[in-house]
Symmetry: C2
Subunit: 114 residues, 2 copies
DNA sequence: GCGCCATATCACTCCTCGCTGATATGTTGT
DNA sequence: ACAACATATCAGCGAGGAGTGATATGGCGC
């Protein structure tokens, strides 16, 4: 039983970690940030994020698989949009937390200065 | 000016990404999760998370530098606590988002099955 | 002061993930 | 059907970071 609880707990933690990893990349954040304003096609995302096209496509595939974005075909374009307003909520709360800890986060050199 | 805006925007993105990376690790999530309930000393965290002591200390240093946790000396113990309730808010947001996308996240194999 | 416990630090290895460059698939007009 | 554009896929490279083991520091009681 204790084991069962542990398993459930760690399963939750693993899921959380995996979801956080989805957000823990500047390229994906740039894409999600752009999509929070309006749905966009891939080539539009390439323009705005200044990332390479394969790079954007790769990230979109990941985000799509994870269910963080959805896609609709529109002629030869494929238009992507965020799948849930909860994503926007999450990003806003991160900014709120950054209001408090931004200095520390920037100073922390345990991983590379972005 | 456009350049300035770009710089500001990308600086925001980099900060967000760095903060997300802080949360994007099962060990740190286990530590933060435990601390959300009550302040704990290092050896207590070691017991509950079943991580090695150096490992816990390393993560705590990082979390401390980032300002996500705070510490108080208490005799020979050092008691750690989360620094802001916004962290709890953020973790709740993630769980809320997981309610929607959990299946997709687990299925996504672009990064390793936690 | 000495041993003990609590915590921190460091060097090292391994693994994961992001980016690139080339190429494939698909869709639309003519 | 062909040319042009939009998007997806894949192999390979390179870097960042997590964990371990050994060791150092620091406070406490006897």
């Amino acid at each position: 039983m204790a084991q069962l609880v542990d398993d459930r707990k760690s399963a939750t933690i693993e899921r959380r970690a995996k979801l956080f990893r989805g957000f823990a990349d500047p390229s994906r954040l740039a894409i999600l940030g752009a999509l929070c304003n309006e749905p966009l096609a891939v080539h539009e995302l390439v323009e705005r994020t200044e990332l390479s096209q394969p790079n954007v496509s790769n990230h979109l595939r990941c985000l799509l698989e994870c269910g963080l974005v959805a896609s609709d075909r529109d002629g030869r374009f494929i238009r992507y949009r965020i799948s849930s307003p909860r994503i926007t909520v999450l990003l806003n709360d991160v900014d709120a937390l950054l209001d408090v800890v931004a200095k520390g986060v920037e100073a922390c050199d345990n991983y590379r200065e972005a």
